[in-house]
């Protein structure tokens, strides 16, 4: 956020009043501190400002004046300040607002430093922010800026040198703490914490205490439906098409290398951000071309020039099983001679595969298996990985797998790594995962709004129309129970802090226990046996009209993925029908 501060400030009107007293502040501060420092600032404070000059001879100032800009430069490089021409002076951005509050905060931080000085990073950041502020503030009243460089530099040096010692300088800077309650220093700030090392940042962000995030939620925002998402994405033109194509091309150039690695008995794992389906497709194409080309070259008379067998696996496809992968490879090896019965266990199919590979000529080309997303949830399980490792360890099988997640290496222990015999290549493509993920679905799941899939109220009503009387009655019962339950629950919800969740999420909290619903259903003569009851529920499940989850005690809780208003609507229609 910091980069914006420099360019945007000159026109930021709200800051005007401060600019006038900033130099005086600096002077006062400087004066006080210059007298103070030699005598008795605590050792810690000295430590934090070891190089700052205490004498005010012009020479010393100049020297330090030279020092400060470099310090600032460093900070700039760190945050990569944009060039001036990109400044948009007339649109106050959110970023700048954030900066302003960051500045207030950092001023406060410096003031209350006595308690806080253990935590060093924020001080530094605060110093930097304030320093920026003072710099520009000083330059503002002298737009002509003919007052020579030194004028600009000198006060900034002072400001810089004073801050750490400014414990007693609260009085001169009252404005910066305006409106802040005194004890609020432990409040979490959403602003970044400066350049903390990664582990410090982790602990900082995970310290105990209630979450300090705003209470705003997405209820006002009109979320995307599948149709709208696809429509928008179809219209959208990727500004990076060229770069991505270049990147892909770059990876394609390593195909001969991969081929050589295969040839030498290695398997390959590609990692990096972006979907690698396209790349794999290209590789398969390339292999096909190359090897059939080779055969033509060297062996034109042989009509039996065989294409390399390439089997492609899409890990993200739901329902892909290890057994089906092995079975397909067996088909690729044996062609039409596949045995009628391969066995139901993946191990058995693998055995069959291995023995049929052994039975082949040693000359026959190896089978190339390309696995998209070997770390996809369905393949991720340890047993599956162990089986894939055994596949990879089979001679005559060349395995190329792609991995999307950053922690993919954790899947494999020493033994598996040994069997996989992977060489790794960074193949960042930046390609979108369109084929892999159902984006809208994923986001809904992330937000806990999965139910929006069904098509809402209309969808449910449509399904209900086609169901028998009994099922409709059951659904009506379920809705009634849920609504009455959520009526009770709602009261307590409102008492809670985050009652803002409101209707959209009401169904998530409300639910009815499976047993209880069955009891009611039996009482109402909707279902005479549990068997029947389950059959009815299954129909709802199939249409995603109900949700079911296990609560902490292991009881099955049934719910409806609809908003409260929608539930009421459906119920109304059901009762009226």
């Amino acid at each position: 956020m910091q980069p914006d501060t420099d360019e945007a400030r000159p026109v930021s009107t709200p800051k005007r009043p401060r600019t006038t007293d900033a130099p005086t502040n600096g002077a006062v501060n400087g004066h006080v501190a210059r007298e103070k420092t030699p005598e008795g600032t605590p050792a810690k404070k000295i430590k934090s400002t070891p190089k700052k000059p205490t004498a005010d001879t012009p020479a010393a100032l100049k020297a330090s004046g030279l020092k400060t800009p470099t310090h600032k430069n460093k900070a700039k490089a760190l945050f990569s300040t944009p060039t001036k021409q990109t400044a948009a002076p007339d649109t106050p951005t959110k970023a700048r607002n954030a900066d302003r509050s960051a500045k207030k905060k950092s001023a406060r931080l410096l003031l209350e430093q006595d308690e806080d000085e253990i935590w060093d990073g924020a001080d530094r950041l605060a110093e930097e922010i304030l320093q920026d502020d003072d710099d520009t503030a000083l330059q503002e009243p002298t737009p002509a800026n003919s007052a020579t460089n030194e004028d600009g530099v000198v006060p900034s040096v002072e400001a810089g040198s004073e801050e750490p010692a400014a414990g007693d300088a609260a009085a001169p800077t009252p404005k910066r703490r305006a409106g802040r309650p005194k004890g609020a220093k432990n409040k979490r700030s959403p602003t970044p914490e400066g350049d903390l090392p990664a582990h410090e940042r982790y602990f900082f962000q995970n310290r105990a205490g209630p979450p300090r995030t705003s209470n705003s939620n997405l209820s006002k925002v009109n979320l995307l439906t599948h149709e709208e998402y696809f429509e928008k994405m179809a219209q959208w033109v990727d500004p990076f098409q060229e770069e991505k194509a270049l990147l892909l091309d770059l990876h394609c150039r390593s195909f001969p290398q991969w081929d050589f690695e295969f040839d030498q008995g290695f398997n390959i794992c590609l990692y990096g951000y972006g979907s690698k389906r396209r790349l794999l497709q290209e590789f398969a194409d390339w292999q096909y071309r190359r090897h059939s080309h080779d055969n033509e070259d060297d062996d034109t008379t042989s009509t039996a020039a065989s294409p390399p067998s390439v089997v492609i696996v899409n890990g993200h496809t739901p329902g892909v099983s290890i057994r089906s992968i092995f079975a397909t490879i067996v088909t690729a090896v044996l062609g039409a001679d596949i045995p009628s019965k391969m066995g139901s266990q993946p191990q058995e199919v693998l055995e069959l595969l291995q023995s049929s590979l052994n039975a082949r000529d040693s000359d026959s080309p190896p089978i190339t298996v390309l696995i998209n997303s070997i770390d996809a949830p369905s393949l991720r399980r340890a047993t599956n990985q162990a089986l894939l490792a055994r596949l990879a360890a089979t001679p005559q099988i060349n395995l190329l797998a792609t991995a999307d997640t950053p922690n993919v290496l954790l899947m494999w222990d020493l033994n598996l790594r040994d069997q996989f015999n992977f060489v790794f290549h960074d193949c960042t493509t930046f390609a979108s995962f369109d084929a892999e993920f159902d984006v809208v679905e994923e986001v809904s799941a992330l937000l806990g709004r999965k139910g929006q899939r069904v098509g809402g109220k209309e969808g449910v009503e449509f399904v209900l129309k086609s169901l028998p009387e009994n099922a409709r009655n059951l659904y009506q019962l379920l809705l009634t129970e849920l609504l009455s339950a959520s009526d009770e629950g709602h009261l307590s919800d409102d008492e809670g802090e985050d009652g803002g969740g409101g209707g959209a999420r009401g169904e998530d909290a409300a639910g009815i226990e499976f047993r209880a619903l069955y009891q009611k259903a039996a009482e109402e003569f909707i279902a005479s046996s549990e068997m029947m009851f389950r059959t009815l529920l299954k129909e709802f499940h199939d249409h995603q009209m109900i949700t079911s989850r296990m609560d902490a005690s292991g009881m099955e809780i049934l719910g409806v993925p609809l908003a409260r208003e929608e539930m009421e609507g459906v119920l109304e229609d059901l009762v009226l029908a």
Binding site: K232, F260, E348, D404, F430, G501
Partner: protein
């Protein structure tokens, strides 16, 4: 199966359809490119001997694509030649390493039976530690031995084979029978038997197999015995023990932790069924060191791995467990990358001179940094003509470079001989308990062996040698150090001295501790220690003289030999010293790569200048913007605020032209990406919040 077939056909039919398919056999999209008029439908894969030569050139043309096929071929052949030689050495070492354990285990298997153990199952407990691959090697060789003699076989069971008792039994039986009979044999064994049909997990099958084949020993090995479910293992063992009279079983447990821990996991009743012995396989590091020594220090070496690679190799095997196989594969990769990517590696071939393209090769030679440095040095010495000739005359350059190559290789061999000598000397003088050739090699390859502590220790030790030790030491000295007239002279003098010497003990030099006296005198109330040499007998004085000469000579020679290999001319050809392909390829950092791609996308997307300097801007890919905003948030993220911030980025830069819904679509996509990368998951703490699960740089 039909379902799979249908899938396959669909896969062949349309490429688009393949996107949604789980598994399919790939067919190229445009048939024109695939060769000839091959029928497009799936064919039976029959192979009449496709010549192996067709695929034998995986190398690509280098030197800007100007390299000739002949030269590529030669490069490839040289690679194969070099590596197959090294591979044979490695295999020899690996065979040698566990041969002792193998004989022990084999004799254990042969000598024990339930009868000798009072009805208990004979069990060999093999601790492997981190050396996991060794057990596999051991079992393979054991199996080979047992099957060739017809005694029986080894059934290797992994934890994955034992999800439940039924499957475990089925697997045991199947592995046991297919081991000798093959898959068809197993099928026919199960189906073509008399009497009632038995199920696949009926141990009757195995008993009948044993009877029919007259198997004497059936070894059942649990490779990763800790990973087996103890319950299943207990059931299995009790079952097996009841079949012991019909199936002559011996068990082998591979144990990575300790025998006590393994025993502790099993119920006492199960432990009571077992009786056996305990074997230990040595740690991998020892083996790795030996392999490295063989590969690098052999006297027929022509190509070496440099300092950086060596340190990568050993970093990896010391930081994380690494099997010897993995180690040798890493070495192999280093060889591969050298010959694959360095066109000049062709000069390492024996008959390089006849096949190479002179002009191209010479141009490449002249571009080598070491060649340039050499030219500059020569110029400074004032031999401008020589340099001119090197630059102009291709033939002269080739001739010279052949010489340089030879002498460079000789120097490398000398260096490794010295390393070898130092290591042996360290062992002989008992200076350090454990000296590994790898540490010394790294120092030598960096040209720093002279400054190392062990080197100085050796030189110090040489001075205090007595005549017997001296004789021994002279024997371990490599030829390169000894083939000078000076040394021969010293040898001769030494011999003559020993002839004359009549004393009983070995001769001691003047540097020996016995020959110096420590005198204590009290001077001004302070104790003053003064050392004084005793007067030496004549022989000892002469011996001291010899030692002095020897010492000086040795030091001078070593100084001469232990140069920095990277200073040699044309070292780029016979010394591979790049850290990077190896490190990236074998110790990848996928997390770092993803984080880098998202936090500074322009490292990857080479884009128009200017846009790369801004930190967060709408000119970046959506996921990168979102990721950077995400990084700034705390452990709990408000999605609404995240969306607002995301939108603000677009809004501030594109102004009114920014379409909110499109931005939201992008936001959706980025959000789903981050979720898929495991960086956020939904949170129940607050409405519309997600929790952050990844911190950059951790």
């Amino acid at each position: 199966m039909d379902a799979v077939l249908l899938e396959l056909d669909a896969g062949a039919a349309s490429k688009d359809g393949s996107q949604s398919q789980g598994v399919y056999i790939y067919r190229p999209a445009d048939k024109i490119k695939s060769s000839g008029e091959r029928p497009t439908k799936r064919r039976k894969v029959t192979r009449t001997n496709v010549p192996k030569a067709a695929n034998s050139r995986p190398f690509v043309s280098l030197l800007n694509g100007d390299e000739e096929a002949k030269s590529i071929e030669l490069r490839y052949r040289t690679y194969q030649q070099f590596w197959s030689a090294q591979e044979a050495k490695i295999k020899g070492i690996l065979d040698d390493v566990d041969s002792e354990v193998l004989t022990n285990v084999l004799s254990f298997v042969r000598s024990t039976s339930p009868q000798t153990y009072d009805g208990c199952i004979p069990a060999a407990l093999v601790t492997v530690g981190s050396n996991v691959s060794s057990l596999g090697r051991l079992l393979t060789r054991l199996n080979g031995q047992l099957t060739t003699t017809g005694e029986g076989g080894v059934i290797v069971l992994e934890s994955g084979d034992a999800p439940n008792l039924k499957t475990t039994l089925k697997n045991i039986i199947r592995f046991g029978i297919t081991n000798t009979e093959g898959n068809e044999g197993y099928q026919s064994f199960v189906t073509d038997r008399e009497g009632p049909r038995v199920l696949g997990y009926d141990l009757d099958l195995l008993a009948e197999y044993v009877k029919r084949k007259e198997v004497k020993k059936l070894v059942l090995a649990f490779r990763d015995s800790e990973a087996f479910d103890p319950g299943i293992l207990a059931d299995l063992l009790s079952l097996l023990s009841s079949w012991l009279d019909r199936i002559p079983l011996t068990l082998i447990f591979g144990i990575s932790t300790s025998v006590e821990l393994f025993e502790g996991r099993l119920p006492r009743s199960t432990v009571a069924l077992l009786r056996g012995r305990y074997f230990e396989i040595h740690e991998a590091s020892n083996c790795v060191d030996r392999i490295y020594g063989r590969i690098q220090a052999e006297q027929d070496g022509k190509f070496w791995l440099g300092r950086n690679i060596t340190s990568v190799l050993f970093e990896k095997s010391s930081d994380s467990f690494q099997t010897p196989e993995a180690f040798s594969r890493t070495v192999k990769y280093a060889y591969m990358s050298h010959f694959f990517a360095n066109p000049l590696s062709v000069l390492l071939a024996d008959d390089a001179a006849t096949t190479i393209q002179r002009d191209k090769v010479c141009e490449a030679l002249r571009n080598l940094p070491s060649f340039r440095r050499h030219c500059e040095d020569t110029l400074e010495e004032g031999c401008a003509e020589q340099v001119r000739k090197l630059l102009d005359d291709d033939a002269f350059l080739l001739e010279q470079s052949a010489q340089w190559l030879k002498s460079g290789q000789q120097k490398m061999r000398d260096i490794f001989q010295c390393v070898d000598m130092v290591q042996r000397a360290l062992k002989q003088f008992n200076i350090v308990k454990k000296s590994s050739i790898s540490d010394l090699s790294i120092r030598a390859l960096a040209g720093e062996l002279q400054t190392s502590a062990s080197y100085e220790d050796i030189l110090r030790a040489i001075r205090t040698l007595d005549s017997d030790q001296m004789k021994l030491f002279a024997m371990i000295l490599p030829d390169t150090l000894t083939d000078s007239s000076d040394f021969a002279q010293i040898q001769a003098d030494f011999g003559a001295l020993l002839q004359v010497y009549k004393g009983t003990g070995p001769l001691k030099s003047g540097y020996d501790k016995q020959h110096s006296i420590v005198a204590t005198t009290v001077v001004q109330q302070r104790v003053k220690l003064s050392k004084a040499k005793v007067k030496l007998p004549k022989e000892n004085a002469e011996f001291t003289n010899i030692i002095d000469r020897f010492y000086a000579l040795l030091e001078a020679r070593l100084e001469e030999i232990l140069i920095r290999p990277n200073d040699l001319v044309l070292h780029e050809i016979f010394l591979l010293d790049m850290r990077n392909p190896l490190k990236e390829v074998f110790s990848p950092r996928p997390r770092f790569a993803v984080e880098r791609a998202l936090s500074s996308p322009f490292d990857y997307l080479i884009s128009s200048p200017g846009s790369s300097t801004v930190k967060v801007s709408a000119h970046q890919p959506a996921a990168a913007i979102l990721y950077q905003l995400y990084l700034e948030s705390g452990s709990l993220v408000n999605v609404h605020d995240l969306w607002q911030a995301f939108y603000a980025v677009f809004e501030s830069e594109q102004g009114s032209s920014c379409d909110e819904r499109t931005a939201m679509a992008l936001f959706y996509r980025a959000l789903s990406d981050l979720k898929a990368l495991g960086m956020m998951k939904s949170s129940r703490k607050k409405v519309d919040h997600v929790s952050k699960t990844a911190w950059m740089g951790l």
